[in-house]
């Protein structure tokens, strides 16, 4: 959390690209963000389990393996920016 290269790598992780000016803007906000995060880091959480959902009794069962929703192939292909035959297509990379 300390330099432009680091933020460019984070951008790559989420498949985004930023201009140098945009990265500078993000780096400029870093100090405020760190200061804000300190409000969390200073809280004593010894022996406290993380909570992933509001309730501990959230469902964790496995559903029966049955079809609930089926989307028509034609609808899927219609939503794709490009499609050929039965397939969604992207750039041909193997010639």
């Amino acid at each position: 959390m300390n330099n432009k290269k680091y933020y460019k790598e984070l951008a790559e992780d989420c498949m985004l690209s930023f201009t140098d000016a945009e990265i500078d803007e993000i780096v400029a906000k870093e100090e405020n963000l760190k200061k804000e995060f300190e409000n969390v880091l200073k809280i004593d959480t010894t022996n406290v389990k993380p909570l992933f959902y509001p309730y501990d009794d959230i469902h964790t069962y496995l559903r029966d393996d049955e079809e609930i929703t089926v989307i028509d192939q034609k609808v899927i292909l219609n939503n794709a920016p490009t499609a050929t035959g039965d397939f969604v297509t992207i750039k041909k990379v193997v010639k």
Partner: protein
């Protein structure tokens, strides 16, 4: 036809008494909605579908279904079958879902008429109304001020009286803060009370489906229609709050109300005075109103925990927006470049900046230091709220302490020691409480709401208490006419 001030019940009576037809009402709504196209509050009108449905409903009058023929807007992050759903993001332009969100299906089953899709801060990210890809949405009562968000268009359209209700989603305060900014009712039910299936996710551990109305009774009606377990949403639950409309006036006289003294004391002088006077009024009616304790360090950490958790979840849940399968695709030499360019061109700045902070928290080296820590503190918050609700039935908190800010002044910071007030509504997202904002104070055309939360899964109690408050406060069914 001047229908705009009418509640759901009043419209229902006119429909079943044949004073108006569903077609006439739908046409009137569409006409009024078209006048607001420049507001950017509407992403899409579904005129043909709405009028066709209205005609069918006119041929099959249903006296027993309160939402029969009632027009509404859906926030544009609800999947609507065969209707473009963009979540106000350029990357989703052209996406037409092949299915309805469960809540949309339930509203259709109750014969409500979807008239269009309301704009939002892109993908639900932003509490201001400035981040829709289609342009800025401002407060309907004063265009120099914030409308709030992320459910900006829904709030705008209900406040203007275009429809009596609209769907919203609430991850941090996206229903309850705009409700306060617009003098309307905004309800975030318990987490999982309404299925999230078909709600485009922002942060699944916090996202909640809810509504805007102009009175609490109407809210009870839309909740009755949409609550319920859904096996398509693994986080939905069976909620015991049933027949809310029938029981809305039956609040237990022994209901206890609590408030956090420092929170009320930190409000502006006018708002603080109004709260303390209101507490005295409640006491004079025989209700118990007591101070409850809350660890201030946890309140001060709310904004950071929200960012750590929701931004991390958002970068993960939105990774499917890649320009490959649906939505807008940019050019590129290979699939990596295509995805990167599609996302870079398709998302607005606010979203991209949140994704970076999310990626920061998800980075291997930070997962324990930040994200896991935030989830541990989330448990402490939930425990603290459990203790609050062991002592009191309803927690009263201020959704905002001033009228909506001027857009030109939105970057003016509150005093550091009071900044936690801006994030206090997130409490109910962290623990899943039902939480409702209703109108409280009016300053000319603008207003300030009051918020009530109950123990998770006690939605009926929350709404009953809100109805009692509404009866005392006396502000409901107001619209912004000009």
């Amino acid at each position: 036809m001047n229908y705009k001030k009418l509640s759901i019940i009043e419209l229902h009576e006119k429909l079943v008494n044949k004073e108006i037809t569903v077609s006439q009402l739908t046409q009137a709504v569409l006409t009024e909605a078209k006048k607001l196209q420049s507001s950017n509050a509407i992403n899409k009108l579904v005129e043909d579908k709405a009028l066709l449905l209205a005609k069918e409903l006119d041929n099959n009058i249903d006296q027993n279904t309160l939402l029969y023929g009632i027009p509404y807007f859906a926030k544009d992050n609800f999947a609507t079958k065969d209707i473009e759903t963009t979540s106000s993001s350029n990357i989703l332009k052209g996406y037409v879902p092949p299915f309805n969100a469960t809540s949309i299906t339930k509203l259709a089953d109750n014969k409500a008429v979807l008239v269009g899709k309301a704009a939002l801060d892109e993908l639900g990210m932003g509490g201001v109304g400035l981040y829709s890809c289609n342009g800025v949405i401002t407060n309907p009562a004063d265009e120099k001020r914030l409308v709030g968000g992320s459910s900006s268009g829904s709030a705008y359209l209900v406040a203007k009286g275009i429809v009596p209700f609209a769907t919203g989603s609430d991850t941090g305060d996206s229903i309850r803060k705009p409700a306060s900014f617009n003098n309307i009712v905004g309800f975030k039910p318990s987490y999982g009370a309404i299925s999230r299936y078909g709600l485009l996710p922002y942060s699944p551990s916090l996202d909640t489906v809810g509504f805007f109305t102009r009175n609490v009774t109407d809210m009870a009606i839309v909740c009755d229609a949409t609550f319920g377990y859904d096996n398509k949403d693994a986080t939905s639950h069976h909620n015991d709050s049933k027949d809310i409309y029938q029981n809305i006036n039956d609040l237990d006289k022994n209901t206890k109300f609590g408030y956090i003294k420092k929170v009320i004391d930190d409000l502006t002088e006018t708002t603080r005075k109004a709260y303390y006077e209101f507490f005295e009024l409640l006491k004079s009616k025989g209700y118990v109103v007591e101070e409850v304790n809350f660890n201030q360090d946890l309140l001060n950490a709310l904004s950071a925990i929200y960012k750590m958790i929701s931004y991390s979840e958002s970068v993960s849940t939105n990774s499917n927006l890649d320009g490959i399968k649906f939505g807008q695709r940019a050019e590129g030499a290979d699939y990596v470049e295509i995805i990167t360019n599609s996302r870079t061109q398709g998302f607005g700045n606010e979203v991209k900046q949140r994704f970076i902070v999310g990626a920061l928290n998800l980075n291997k080296e930070n997962q324990t230091v930040y994200l896991n820590k935030a989830k541990q503190v989330r448990r402490l918050i939930v425990q603290e709220l459990k203790e609050v609700f062991a002592k009191t039935d309803i927690l009263i908190i201020p959704p905002t302490d001033k009228v909506p800010p001027l857009i030109s002044e939105m970057k003016i910071k509150t005093a550091p020691e009071k900044q936690y007030l801006d994030h206090i509504l997130t409490l109910a997202n962290f623990n899943g409480s039902p939480s409702i904002t209703i109108p409280f104070i009016k300053e000319h055309k603008l207003g300030i709401g009051i918020n009530l939360s109950a123990k998770p899964k006690n939605d009926l109690l929350c709404l009953q208490a809100a109805k009692m408050f509404e009866d005392i406060i006396g502000i409901k069914n107001e619209i912004v006419e000009y």
